[in-house]
Symmetry: C3
Subunit: 264 residues, 3 copies
């Protein structure tokens, strides 16, 4: 396994351009988190603009948090162009299972685009795996009984790397499944931490190639930073946590990341 | 009158799903403030997605801050479905009176959808009541001479509960009018505090039912938290205020809320 | 040259309404920064809404960060109405040169609308001037060999005031070119500081008229505030910097601004 610190160094050294087609709720935090981890974000969703832009990018992040017919079209155009150019595609199937439109869109993207990584919460991944799970709005209510099974099953069904984030995170390529145990309870109190993590995964995959390790590294980088953010006792709630999370991701040192990593 | 602390407990206990169709300027703050007060926000505005989503929700918040023909259509679809399912609808008529498009849209929503609560600033409510008032951009320049009269009049005209927020807040159902006197002057220095309050009202109405008390409780929860946010002398401007406001709403204790409430 | 402090006072005294048609990534920060500097922001981009709104405004800011066919149409409608009403138009050509769609849109706006100020990063301004420059995504990779030449040349070609921001800022009307040397390295770590500066320039131009001095004043106000923000040693990264930047712009004193200004 490549040390997390090495993956971090690659992201910071290469500063991968990450092209997001994402929701308008958490888009600013996604951009700033991408910068903090060492990447360079660009958000554009016009059908006429996405093809040339994705050609410049090291990764494409598709997030269906606030989808509509216009941006779905752009996601498909961008995804297909990413495939032609071997740019890895990360899909964050926000709210899949909550409404038919979301479920159909996630399935359509998975059918028409070769996705490299699917990253959702426990409910979303369980729904996509066909193993139960409940999503209310965009939040996970319950995952499969055994979320490790769901992650592995979806990875095998789709031929992608699948990550389910939550209190504990699971990443699988269908053969190997790693379990990540870092994180702060405050992560769940800020809207869009899941979206931000997907963007960071984009940067890690863009700089380090697609693998269980690179996906896990992106997730762990944010989660370890969240522990550091709260460690000095000056986080009093979601507001101060968010501010300090950006600082902590930006300042995360390789040696601390390696030392604090809890991965099985 | 039900104590504010009881209303707060209900919100935190039920974690009502609040469906927002709202502007893209303050949408992230609306989501985070909704989480901080105890609710669960979901933002979606595609015509194909809003009907099933509002069916899952405890309240629907329609905010016309950055309206366009596509999202107005979605607001009407969602509003009518909310009516069919007895989901309360909160309308925040941002900028009504500033342009014909905004005025016509607010009137159209009020005509086609049974709105439970109208929450605007002094200028917007006065304009809607037909009692003068001036709105410049999306900010209130002047309200009716007697804003209490405007609130009561609009409540009677529309059969809704009407709230006008500003340095002093008024809430009326056409019979009873309550006056709320909490708040910090910093509330006016952050874009979208009005939008955030509308979302919190959605959570309060969703968890406690529609009443003058539940609407007033949502407004007071944020305003009291804004006083706590500035009380330790560590707010230096709009940036630090915003951070601490999220923390304060999240940490607000029922006993403090009841003790600090200034309501007539 | 009018002192910066006088320009600041005019902005705070007049509270100019600044109409933004801008990207959804940094829109909230643009709104809040506009308030912090003393202006009043309004964001609206519906074709039916922009004409009456721009008629109320003191400046119109067009930012192509997340453009699409619908909003480009609205930018052209708003821009032409601004011209009819002598409302100054500020163009922020985000990402021009990165994709054909962005380049064509910037050129189309410059052809169909009389723009008063073009404000971009070094790469964008160099591209528009036809003097090289490279833009990756929305970030400047390299500017013209001599950015002062590019700024002056573009000003002469277009008959506008041109500002190129970066570690050092240049503002020119084609005859006089001023060089601005304030700023903090943290400005580059937050998404959209360039967009925020464009909005502040809108407020300064709206309150003080269009001139090299008023454009330079808007840029310097934010840059000097960024130095004050980091001066107490309590900025630890992009998160805390952003919070303190809003506070610092809001609290900036005229005498400090004049004293700290580094302009050639």
């Amino acid at each position: 396994m490549i040390p997390l610190s090495e993956m971090m160094s690659k992201v910071r050294g290469k500063c991968p351009l990450v092209h997001f087609i994402t929701n308008y709720v958490t888009v600013n935090d996604c951009a700033n988190m991408c910068i903090c981890c060492g990447g360079s974000p660009v958000m554009t969703d016009a059908a006429k603009d996405v093809e040339p832009m994705v050609g410049l990018a090291s990764a494409l992040v598709l997030n269906i948090g606030t989808l509509n017919d216009r941006t779905i079209e752009s996601m498909l155009i961008a995804g297909k162009e990413a495939n032609r150019r071997d740019v890895p595609v990360i899909l964050d199937p926000v709210g899949v299972g909550a409404t038919p439109y979301r479920t159909e869109t996630a399935e359509r993207i998975l059918k028409e685009v070769k996705v490299s990584v699917i990253k959702g919460n426990h409910g979303e991944i369980s729904v996509l795996a066909g193993l139960g799970g409940e999503v209310r709005g965009v939040d996970s209510v319950s995952g499969a009984e055994d979320i490790a099974v769901a992650v592995k099953s979806l990875a095998q069904q789709t031929g992608t790397i699948v990550a389910a984030t939550g209190p504990v995170d699971y990443v699988s390529d269908g053969k190997t499944t790693v379990v990540l145990k870092n994180g702060s309870k405050f992560m769940a109190t800020v809207s869009g931490t899941g979206c931000m993590v997907s963007g960071v995964v984009g940067a890690y995959v863009g700089a380090n190639g697609v693998s269980v390790d690179s996906v896990a590294a992106g997730i762990s980088a944010v989660n370890i930073a969240s522990e550091i953010a709260v460690s000095d006792g000056k986080v009093f709630g979601p507001g101060s946590f968010r501010t300090k999370l950006f600082d902590a991701v930006y300042n995360l040192k390789g040696e601390d990341a390696d030392r604090l990593l809890r991965r099985e």
